[in-house]
């Protein structure tokens, strides 16, 4: 089987790689690029553990063929912390015990990140809806919801103070 060439921008860096056309984005990220935050939970788009951001949308990377991701901008959990500083979502996930075993956490965080990209001030129902495709078998999702509310508040106060400075 021939290989195809795929150009991806991952966490801000552009990579060109060769892969069999039937491979999934999940397998390319996890196995070839060793971005092991991207977890396989079912391989069928049912559980959300492999969710990454592709062109600002949360997608199950097990349902995206590598070729479909050609030219796209991908963000994985590895790209969330900046220079060792945790993103507010990450900080509040820790404080709120938004996980137990942590296997769903990377996908969960990416869904929450995508939510805040498009809706900086979500209410509880919007958060619930945003993470409906992220199964967690350990918690009751309360910690996740609280963490998102707190992270949104943090981010909004940061952007407000930035606006004040610019004004």
């Amino acid at each position: 089987m021939g290989e195809i060439e795929v150009r991806l921008t991952i966490n801000g860096k552009t990579k060109v790689l060769k892969t069999k056309p039937a491979r999934t984005l999940l397998s390319v990220l996890h196995d070839d690029l060793k971005l092991t935050s991207v977890k396989e939970g079912c391989g069928q788009g049912d559980c959300g553990t492999c969710i990454v951001i592709m062109d600002e949308l949360a997608v199950n990377s097990c349902l995206v063929l590598a070729g479909q991701a050609d030219g796209k901008e991908i963000i994985t959990l590895e790209g969330l912390a900046q220079n060792g500083d945790l993103h507010p979502l990450q900080q509040h996930f820790i404080e709120q015990w938004a996980f137990q075993c942590g296997y769903c956490t990377p996908g969960m965080l990416m869904s929450c990140y995508a939510l805040l990209l498009h809706n900086p001030d979500p209410d509880i129902e919007e958060i619930r809806e945003a993470i409906e495709g992220n199964l967690c078998r350990c918690t009751n999702y309360r910690g996740v919801i609280e963490a998102v509310l707190k992270a949104a508040a943090d981010l909004n106060s940061i952007s407000q103070s930035k606006r004040r400075k610019n004004a």
């Binding site: 996890h30 196995d31 060793k34 971005l35 092991t36 935050s37 977890k39 396989e40 939970g41 079912c42 391989g43 069928q44 049912d46 559980c47 553990t49 994985t76 959990l77 590895e78 969330l80 912390a81 945790l86 990450q90 996930f93 820790i94 404080e95 709120q96 015990w97 996980f99 137990q100 075993c101 942590g102 296997y103 769903c104 956490t105 990377p106 965080l109 958060i127 619930r128 809806e129 993470i131 409906e132 495709g133 992220n134 199964l135 967690c136 078998r137 350990c138 918690t139 009751n140 999702y141 309360r142 910690g143 996740v144 919801i145």
Partner: protein, 762 residues
């Protein structure tokens, strides 16, 4: 207990930074140079004789490095928990859908799949046994030539049950049924194995019992146990389903055969098809009581379908037996519990372990009794509830039995039970409110006749930082955080100074399995013993340095205190000085469970437990009588687990357990037809999502357990145990029709209402 700095205080979980940054490595994230892909060939029939198994074509394919059958196992071709009755690779007869015929190692996924496709198998399908009641009948076809279909018949007799029923004014007789449940941990089972230069086979696997795994791997490789090393990375959930070994032996065999690292991860479908499940149990329950609701006798017959291999099946049924009478004073009791072998999926350990099934029957029955006598459901429970030191039918006196009533009363208050029925009873013409209670005793630990111990190692470095090496697995419950908290508190160092070394059978000591809500208690106590010599060294040194008697000294916050005042010496000073003086800074702690004197009578049930956590749950539901849909509005839970060591962690255990219990109550069921599971994906086996979560009000009563670390009891299973019972009681209350079968699907509710209407019409 005054002035605790770390224990009982908010603490973030050990490893949480690794988890939120994606650096935490789980088994599927491990890779080694030259690593092969492992895959397994499962039987095509749940019960069949293997006539032919030819792997020669598969072996000759490009990219295929090894194909193993039963002939290629150097040691024993069997494994399992209670008995080693499950073949690693089937030689003659496959007895359930998850039996494995061959193991493949190949250069990549495609080659591995090609190898599986090229293996030639001829089966002679055999008639299956799929109904445990049929399997128990005399003359039923036998699953094993040398074994009865009834593997085990447990008998528990207490008092005089016939006399008790004669004395009764009322007898309630019902049959309850629970369903086959999937753990659905988010990380499917997997393992990576490699052989080191010195011949040691290293196996990385998310598991609950690394030392038991080591024993079983060594047995099949025919090597001494110390030539196998099991390392436990981060684990994506377990809930009992990773207690028994899963694919570790296959990867070890393949690594040994090929000399190369092998990674074998089950697909979600394979995971659902193969690992053990929660037992479906049918319980016939007869209750005798006086007019005032006081119990006179209980008779129980429980049948558990355990599949073809015993696994933990008989232990689960043991726990059904010991928890069937609930937290009540039962003067006369008679129970028979059958562990029945069939060709269905194997049932074994799952959070709640028989306690969930037993309490479902017990608590439903209590409500039926209350309804028949016109007594309030909480009142009838209080009238029959345990007191401190009361004996239950297992012949065990429960010293903290009074906490049953304390939980019940507190839950009643917190839920506003008094106002029950005053809410707008029909918020719409098709909606009905219902309230239900589930109150439980939750035995934790292995029971008084089973091994129950843990070792742990603690080292203090000269700067006062601490290493704790534990062989006890934390698969998310927060055990390692608790061990770090206990160590930090006792040595008077900040939590951030304690590092946990995760289980590794070469580096850490055997702590037994992480099951039965035992580890905080057992490993926690071991940690407290381990730190004692180090603490003594520091205090002896401090006494020498300050001239203040050690009774007046305290270690806190990384410093030395005398009568509440901080002195200039830090833990670093004390550790360095102690080392110079040849004082011990490394230590091993061991704890074997001890029970209070006299709690077991001479006639105690063989596997009775001795330690109990009590808890009460009240569920408020809304039922749509037109569609049968159930909405759980609120769950109120009051638990007395002794001292709460980590508030967030404890809350997480109860909430997470309760949500898993909602799944069990309302939506989850593996559908098995002729030994084949039909719903093998997370799209067809639904578990609760973020939109299925009721409001939860959780409260802890903290009367301490004298033997527990800082007064703690086990509580990892508590939340799930009473949830199905409370919800089923609430739905029955809402619709005025008795429901006795899980899960309470809309269809089931609707049919019950329809049948009831027809019954009324006749």
């Amino acid at each position: 207990m005054p002035d605790l700095d770390v224990v009982g205080k908010h603490a973030v979980s050990v490893g949480s930074r690794d988890i939120v940054t994606g650096r935490a490595k789980y088994t599927p994230d491990l890779s080694f140079p030259g690593m092969l892909v492992g895959r397994l060939l499962y039987t095509a029939h749940p019960h069949a004789r293997i006539i032919k198994l030819d792997v020669s074509k598969a072996r000759s394919l490009p990219g295929v490095v090894s194909v193993l059958t039963h002939q290629d196992i150097p040691g024993e071709n069997s494994y399992n928990l209670i008995e080693t009755d499950q073949p690693i690779l089937v030689e003659d007869i496959a007895r359930f859908q998850g039996d494995v015929l061959a193991a493949v190692a190949a250069e990549d996924e495609d080659a591995a799949q090609a190898a599986l496709d090229a293996i030639e198998v001829e089966y002679e399908p055999l008639p299956g046994i799929f109904d445990p009641v049929e399997a128990m009948k005399p003359g039923a076809p036998k699953l094993w030539p040398d074994r009865d279909n009834v593997y085990d018949r447990l008998l528990l007799e207490y008092g005089d049950v016939d006399a008790g029923f004669k004395e009764a004014d009322i007898i309630i007789d019902n049959t309850y049924a629970t369903q086959l449940i999937e753990h659905a941990f988010l990380e499917p089972e997997g393992a990576v194995a490699r052989v080191e230069d010195n011949g040691v086979v290293v196996v990385y696997a998310g598991c609950q019992a690394p030392f038991h795994d080591r024993q079983q791997i060594a047995r099949s490789l025919a090597v001494p146990e110390n030539m196998v090393r099991v390392i436990v990375p981060y684990i994506g959930g377990a809930f009992g389903g990773k207690w028994e070994i899963h694919v570790q032996i296959y990867t070890a065999l393949l690594a040994q055969a090929t000399g190369r690292p092998v990674r074998l991860i089950r697909t979600r479908e394979e995971s659902i098809l193969t690992h053990v499940k929660r037992h479906p149990v049918t319980i016939r329950y007869r209750t005798g009581a006086k007019k005032d609701g006081v119990l006179t006798a209980i008779q129980v017959e429980a049948i558990g379908d355990t599949g073809p291999y015993v696994n933990a099946g008989a232990l689960v049924m043991d726990v059904v037996a010991t928890h069937s009478f609930g937290p009540y004073v039962v003067p006369n009791a008679h129970l028979v519990a059958y562990t029945v072998l069939t060709n269905n999926p194997i049932a074994g350990a799952m959070r709640g372990f028989g306690m969930l099934q037993a309490h479902l029957a017990c608590e439903r029955q209590m409500d039926e009794l209350a309804k028949a006598l016109g007594i309030d459901p909480l009142e009838i429970r209080l009238r029959n509830g345990l007191d401190a030191g009361r004996e239950i039918p297992t012949g065990v006196s429960i010293l903290n039995g009074d906490s049953m009533k304390a939980c019940l009363k507190e839950a009643s208050q917190l839920s506003g039970w008094e106002k029950r029925g005053q809410e707008e009873c029909q918020p719409a013409h098709h909606l009905r409110h219902g309230w239900g209670v589930g109150t439980i005793l939750n035995g934790f630990g292995m029971g008084h006749n089973a091994p129950d111990s843990a070792g742990i190692q603690v080292d203090m470095a000269l700067d006062g930082s601490v290493i704790v090496r534990t062989g006890a697995v934390d698969y998310g419950q927060g055990l390692h955080t608790i061990l770090a908290q206990l160590t930090a508190e006792s040595l008077g160092v900040p939590l951030s100074s304690v590092k946990i070394v995760r289980p590794d059978t070469d580096m850490t000591s055997d702590a037994g399995a992480t099951i039965a809500a035992r580890q905080s208690f057992v490993s926690g106590n071991a940690a407290l013993r381990a730190v004692e010599p180090i603490r003594r060294s520091l205090l002896e040194t401090a006494e020498e340095l300050t001239g203040i008697p050690r009774e007046m000294l305290a270690l806190r916050e990384g410093a030395l205190f005398a009568e509440g005042e901080r002195l200039s010496f830090t833990t670093r000073d004390l550790a360095t000085k102690a080392w110079e003086k040849n004082r011990q800074l490394c230590s091993m702690g061991y704890y074997g469970v001890k029970y209070p004197d006299g709690i077991f009578s001479e006639s105690s049930y063989a596997n009775a437990g001795g330690y109990f956590t009590f808890s009460t749950e009240i569920a408020k539901v809304l039922v749509d009588i037109e569609t049968g849909e159930v909405i759980v509005e609120e769950l109120v839970i009051v638990t007395n687990a002794g001292k709460v060591l980590n508030p967030r962690g404890a809350q997480g255990q109860i909430e997470g357990g309760a949500l898993m219990g909602c799944g069990c109550a309302l939506m989850e069921e593996l559908i098995v037809d002729q030994g084949r599971t039909l719903n093998t994906s997370l799209a067809s086996y639904l578990i609760p999502t973020s939109s299925d979560v009721p409001m939860m009000k959780i409260k802890f009563l903290e009367s301490p357990e004298p033997e527990g670390p800082y007064g703690a009891r086990g509580m990892g299973e508590t939340g799930i145990i009473h949830t199905p019972a409370a919800i089923l009681n609430a739905v029955s209350d809402a619709i005025g029709v008795s429901l006795n079968t899980l899960p309470i699907t809309p269809e089931r509710v609707y049919k019950a209402l329809e049948a009831n209407e027809k019954g009324l019409g006749e």
